[in-house]
C-alpha cells in the first residue's frame, strides 16, 4: 500500500517522459496518477490502528545492501501518516492547479510526479539510507523545477539551493553513519535504532547529533541556515514554491522527530534547550523580516521560517525532558505534527494564490496592488481564509497546532514559549497589513480588467482551504492518529 503510493507517481513520471501527449492530456494524466497515492493514503488511514501498541504499522522490508545493514524498509506511525496525508492532498491540488509550463508540459508534470513519489518515500521510510536517498532526490527534482521554470534569477537560486541543501544532506549522512556504526552488527534499520538508543552515553554522541541537526536544520530551515530559502522561493514558479514550502520543508522537521528525537533521546534532551532557542529566534526573525518585505512572495516565504520555528519549538519541548511532563510533551509533539499538516495546507494555498496573481499581472510587489476586493471577490476570499489560518485564528487548523505547541512548550520551557508567542502577534500584523494593502483601499484603474479565479484554481484552493476549516473545527480524527504516534514515540523512549 505504502510502496504503491511511492512507486505509482515515479512510474507516472517515467510514463510522461515516454508518452508523446499534449499539454492538456499530460496534466490530466498527472492528476489521475496523483490520485493513486491519495487513494493509497486513504486505505492506509483506514487500515491504521491508532490503539495498537505497535509504533510502526503497514511495514514492508526488502534487503538492499545486506552487508552494511541497509534495506528497503517502509511503514508509518501516526506522525508519518498525517504528513503523508497532507503530501498527497497538496500534490494533487498543485498538479491540478493551472500552471504556465512554457511549452514543456510533459517534463513539468513528470518532475512534479517524481517529486511526489520522492516525498512520500521519505515520509514512510523506516531505514536511514532509504530516508537519505529520498532526501537527496528531492533536491534533484526541485533543482530542475526551479531552474527550468523559474523567474529571471532562477538558475543562480536553484544552484544555491542545491549546493546548500546538499551540504546539509551530506552532514545528515555522516550523522546517520555515526549512528549505524554504533550498532553491532551495523544496521540502518530505524526500528532497531530506536529500540537500541545506540549512542546513549557515548562521548561522540553530541557530534553525531550536531551533524544530524545541521543537516535537518538546513532543510527545515532554521535561522541561521535559512538563507537559501527566500531566493529559492522568489525565483521558483509558484506551484513549485507551494510544494517546497508545503512538503519539502517538512522533511527537515519530520526528520528531527524521526531520527534524533527518537534515536538519541538522552543526547537530544541535553541539546534541546539550544534547539528551543534556535526555534524561537527563527520564529521572531522570520516574523519581523517578513513584516519588512514589500514583495508578497518573499513575505510568505519568511512566514515559513516562523511556522517551521513553531514546529521545531514543539519538537524541542517534546524531547526536552527524559521523564516527567509526559502529557505536555506529547501535546507539543502532536502540535508540531499538526503544524506540519496545517502549514502544508495553508502555505501551499498562499503560494498558489501568488501564482494566480503572477499569471494575471506578473507582479509580486505589494505596493502595485490595492482595493482588489470588489474586483476579484473569490481571490480575495481565498486569501483572507488562508491568511487568517496562517496567523492562527481559532476555528482553523493553524490554531489547533499552535495552541498545542505553546501549551506543551509552556510546561517545559516557559520563558522560550512566552517569547515565541510574540511571533504569533507579529504574524497577525504582517498578514493583516498584506490583506489591507492588496485588497482594501483605493483601487487603481489599472486593475479594472483583472480576472477572478477560474474553476480549476477554485477547485485546488477550495480543497486546501476547506481542509483547513474542517480540520480546524473537527480535528478529533486527525488528533487521534497523531496522538497515538507521539505518545508511542515518547513512550517508547521513556
Amino acid at each position: 500500500m505504502l510502496t504503491t503510493a511511492v512507486l505509482a507517481p515515479l512510474a507516472g513520471a517515467l510514463a510522461l517522459v515516454g508518452l508523446r501527449v499534449g499539454e492538456r492530456a499530460a496534466r490530466w494524466l498527472a492528476v489521475a496518477v496523483s490520485l493513486v497515492p491519495l487513494a493509497a493514503f486513504l486505505a492506509a488511514w483506514a487500515a491504521f490502528d491508532s490503539r495498537s501498541a505497535e509504533q510502526f504499522q503497514l511495514v514492508t522490508a526488502v534487503e538492499w545492501l545486506p552487508t552494511v545493514g541497509v534495506g528497503y524498509r517502509v511503514g508509518v506511525d501516526g506522525v508519518a501518516l498525517a504528513v503523508v496525508g497532507v503530501t498527497t492532498v497538496l500534490f494533487t491540488a498543485v498538479i491540478a492547479f493551472p500552471a504556465d509550463t512554457r511549452g514543456r508540459a510533459r517534463p513539468w508534470y513528470a518532475w512534479l510526479l517524481f517529486l511526489e513519489g520522492v516525498c512520500l518515500g521519505l515520509f514512510v521510510a523506516l531505514d536511514l539510507i532509504v530516508f537519505y536517498v529520498f532526501f537527496d532526490l528531492s533536491l534533484v527534482g526541485m533543482y530542475f523545477l526551479i531552474s527550468r521554470w523559474g523567474h529571471a534569477g532562477a538558475e543562480a537560486a536553484a544552484l544555491k539551493f542545491f549546493l546548500y541543501t546538499l551540504l546539509g544532506s551530506l552532514a545528515l549522512l555522516i550523522g546517520m553513519i555515526g549512528l549505524a556504526l554504533a550498532m553491532d552488527p551495523i544496521t540502518f534499520d530505524m526500528r532497531e535504532l530506536i529500540a537500541a538508543q545506540p549512542l546513549a552515553g557515548a562521548g561522540h554522541a553530541v557530534l553525531v547529533l550536531v551533524a544530524l541537526l545541521l543537516g535537518l536544520g538546513i532543510k527545515t530551515p532554521v535561522v541561521p541556515f535559512h538563507t537559501w530559502l527566500p531566493a529559492a522561493h522568489v525565483e521558483a514558479p509558484a506551484p513549485a514554491s507551494a510544494l517546497l514550502a508545503g512538503v519539502l520543508l517538512k522533511m527537515g522537521a519530520f526528520g528531527m522527530i524521526r531520527i534524533p528525537l527518537a534515536m538519541m533521546r538522552e543526547t537530544f534532551a541535553a541539546v534541546a534547550p539550544v534547539l528551543g532557542v534556535v526555534a524561537v529566534v527563527s520564529i521572531l526573525y522570520g516574523a519581523f523580516v517578513a513584516l519588512g518585505q514589500g514583495d508578497i512572495k518573499r513575505r510568505i516565504a519568511y512566514t515559513s521560517v516562523t511556522h517551521m520555528g513553531y514546529t521545531v519549538l514543539g519538537i524541542a519541548a517534546a524531547g526536552g525532558l527524559l521523564a516527567g511532563a509526559e502529557e505536555a510533551r506529547a501535546l507539543a509533539l502532536t502540535g508540531a505534527t499538526i503544524e506540519m499538516v496545517a502549514h502544508g495546507l495553508i502555505t501551499g494555498a498562499l503560494f498558489l494564490i501568488t501564482g494566480s496573481l503572477w499569471e494575471r499581472t506578473a507582479d509580486y510587489a505589494m505596493d502595485a496592488y490595492g482595493g482588489l476586493a470588489d474586483r476579484v471577490p473569490r481571490l480575495t476570499a481565498a486569501t483572507v481564509v488562508a491568511a487568517f489560518a496562517s496567523l492562527g485564528l481559532p476555528g482553523l487548523v493553524g490554531f489547533v497546532a499552535e495552541f498545542q505547541i505553546f501549551v506543551g512548550a509552556f510546561a517545559v520551557y516557559p520563558v522560550l514559549a512566552a517569547v515565541g508567542l510574540l511571533g504569533v502577534l507579529v504574524t497577525a500584523a504582517l498578514f493583516l497589513q498584506l490583506l489591507q494593502r492588496v485588497f482594501l483601499g483605493e483601487r487603481s484603474g489599472y486593475w479594472d480588467g483583472l480576472r477572478d479565479l477560474d474553476a480549476a484554481e477554485q477547485g485546488s484552493l477550495g480543497v486546501l482551504l476547506a481542509l483547513t476549516v474542517v480540520l480546524g473545527v473537527a480535528p478529533a480524527p486527525l488528533l487521534d492518529v497523531v496522538d497515538a504516534g507521539s505518545t508511542l514515540l515518547l513512550g517508547a523512549a521513556g
Partner: protein, 468 residues
C-alpha cells in the same frame, strides 16, 4: 600451483597477441575485425575470472599472485571498461590506418592493470606498472597528427618515467630492508628492518603508485590526457590504471604495522587529491579537461578507502564498490562526449537536452552519479566509503570529502545546466554512430543498475577481501 589460477590473464595475453596478428594480416578496410577479436578475448578473460570466484582465496604461483575478491573484481571491471573502450574506438579510430593495433594496446594495458591489482610481490607489481605505463603512453599519443594528443602522450611519458623510477627505487629499498619482496613474507621481516631504508620505501612506493592512480603528487598528466588523448584512450586511461594502482597500494598499506604512519600519509594524499582536483575543475571550460580534474578528485576519494584499510573491515569491500561505480560513471561521461563526436567546449553542450535528449540525460546521469546522488551507483560507492572511513576513525577525512562533494556539485552542475537550461544551438548536433551509442547505453545502464545492486559487489568481497 595450478595454471588455471592465472587462466584469465593467459587468455588476455593470448588475446592481445591474436588481435595484433589479425590487425597485421587483415587489409585496411577489415581492421575492425581485430576489435571483434579483442572483445572475444575480454569476454573470455572475464568469464575465466568469474569461474575462479568460487575457488577458495589463496596466494598462488609461489605466493606471487593473490587470488581473492580484489583480484576478481578488478579483473572483471577492467575487462568491462576495456570492452566499452573497444566499442568507443570502433567509430572514433576507424579512419586511423593502424586502427587494428590500437586494440592490442588496449588489451595489454588492461593486462598491466590486472597484474598490478593481483600482484602479491613487489617485483611483479613493477612488471604490471611498466606494462600498463608503456601501453598507456602509446594510447595517449595515438593521434600522431594531433599536437594535443602528442603533447598529452609526451607529458604522460615524462611524468610516468620519473614516477616509475621512484617506484623502482622504493622496491629496491624495500628489498634491501626486508630481504624479500614477497608480500607474504614482508610482515615478518619488517620488524627487524633498517628504519631508514624502510622510510625510503615508504616514500617511493606510494609516490610511484600515485602516478598510476592519478592522485597527488603524480596527477599532472590526468587533465592533459583527458583532454588531448584519443577519446577511447582518455576513457580507458582515467579508469583502468587507477583500478590497478589503488588496489596495489591497498595491498601494501595492509602489510605495514599499524604503528607506522602509512595510514596518515595515504590520508594526506587523499585529502590533497580530492581538494586539488576539485578546485582545479571549478572553472574549466572544456568538458574533457573538467572530467580529467574530476578524475583526480575521485582518486582522492579512492585513497580515502585505502587509508581506511587497516582501521575498518568495511574498507576493502567499500573500495571495490567505489572503484566499480566510479569506473562505470566516468566511462559513461566520456562515452557521451565521444558519441557527440568529441564536442567538448562547455558552450557546445548548450541546450543539448532539446536537440539530443538521450545523450543529454545520459551525461546528466553519469555526472550526478559522480556527485553521489542516490539511487545512482555513485551513491552506493560513496556511502560505503564514508562508512568505512568513519569506522576507521578518520572522520576528519570523511568531513573533508563531504565538503569536496559539495564543491564538486558546482562544476558538475555547470555541465548539467548547460545541457538543460541554455538555448539550443541552431545547427544540428551530429552523433557518431551505433557502436558509440551502445557504449553509452551499457555504461549508463551500469550506473543505474549498480546503484540498486551494489550489494552484489559488497557481498563478494566480505569474508577475506585482501590477501595476504
Amino acid at each position: 600451483m595450478r595454471i588455471g589460477h592465472v587462466l584469465p590473464q593467459i587468455v588476455l595475453l593470448v588475446g592481445a597477441a591474436t588481435t595484433l596478428v589479425v590487425a597485421l594480416v587483415l587489409p585496411r578496410r577489415r581492421q575492425s575485425w581485430s576489435g571483434a577479436v579483442a572483445l572475444a578475448a575480454l569476454a573470455g578473460t572475464a568469464g575465466a575470472q568469474l569461474s575462479l570466484v568460487a575457488t577458495s582465496d589463496q596466494l598462488t604461483f609461489d605466493l606471487l599472485w593473490a587470488l581473492d575478491a580484489s583480484t576478481h573484481v578488478a579483473s572483471i571491471l577492467v575487462c568491462a571498461i576495456t570492452a566499452v573502450a573497444v566499442l568507443l574506438a570502433r567509430e572514433w579510430m576507424v579512419t586511423d590506418p593502424r586502427f587494428g593495433e590500437y586494440h592490442a594496446l588496449l588489451l595489454l594495458g588492461a593486462l598491466g592493470a590486472i597484474v598490478m591489482a593481483g600482484a602479491a610481490d613487489a617485483n611483479e607489481l613493477v612488471v604490471g606498472v611498466t606494462l600498463s605505463s608503456v601501453t598507456g603512453y602509446t594510447l595517449a599519443a595515438y593521434h600522431r597528427r594531433s599536437a594535443l594528443s602528442v603533447e598529452a602522450g609526451m607529458g604522460y611519458f615524462l611524468i610516468g618515467g620519473l614516477s616509475n623510477i621512484v617506484l623502482l627505487v622504493g622496491v629496491v629499498l624495500l628489498f634491501a630492508a626486508a630481504g624479500t619482496t614477497l608480500y607474504a613474507d614482508l610482515p615478518g621481516s619488517l620488524a627487524a628492518a633498517d628504519p631508514w631504508l624502510l622510510a625510503g620505501a615508504a616514500v617511493g612506493l606510494p609516490v610511484g603508485l600515485a602516478f598510476k592512480v592519478g592522485a597527488v603528487p603524480g596527477h599532472g598528466w590526468v587533465p592533459d590526457v583527458a583532454q588531448g588523448a584519443p577519446l577511447p584512450s582518455a576513457a580507458f586511461l582515467t579508469v583502468v590504471p587507477k583500478v590497478g594502482g589503488v588496489l596495489a597500494l591497498a595491498r601494501l598499506v595492509d602489510l605495514v604495522p599499524a604503528s607506522s604512519r602509512a595510514t596518515t600519509a595515504v590520508a594526506v594524499l587523499a585529502a590533497l587529491s580530492m581538494t586539488l582536483g576539485n578546485l582545479a575543475a571549478l572553472r574549466q571550460e572544456d568538458v574533457r579537461r573538467l572530467l580529467g580534474w574530476s578524475s583526480v578528485s575521485q582518486a582522492g576519494y579512492a585513497l580515502m578507502g585505502v587509508a581506511a584499510v587497516q582501521g575498518s573491515d568495511q574498507a576493502v569491500p567499500a573500495l571495490l564498490l567505489f572503484l566499480v561505480v566510479y569506473a562505470v560513471a566516468n566511462t559513461a561521461a566520456f562515452a557521451v562526449v565521444g558519441l557527440l563526436r568529441g564536442r567538448t567546449r562547455l558552450e557546445d553542450f548548450a541546450g543539448l537536452v532539446s536537440v539530443r535528449p538521450w545523450p543529454a540525460w545520459a551525461l546528466t546521469i553519469a555526472l550526478l552519479s559522480l556527485v553521489g546522488i542516490p539511487p545512482l551507483a555513485g551513491f552506493a560507492g560513496k556511502f560505503a566509503l564514508f562508512t568505512a572511513t568513519i569506522d576507521a576513525d578518520l572522520a576528519w577525512l570523511a568531513a573533508l570529502a563531504v565538503v569536496n562533494t559539495v564543491v564538486s556539485l558546482f562544476y558538475y552542475l555547470r555541465v548539467i545546466a548547460a545541457c538543460h537550461l541554455r538555448e539550443p544551438p541552431a545547427e544540428t548536433v551530429a552523433l557518431l554512430g551505433r557502436w558509440s551509442t551502445a557504449a553509452v547505453a551499457l555504461a549508463v545502464a551500469g550506473t543505474v543498475v549498480l546503484g540498486l545492486a551494489g550489494g552484489v559487489v559488497l557481498g563478494t568481497a566480505q569474508a577475506r577481501p585482501l590477501l595476504p
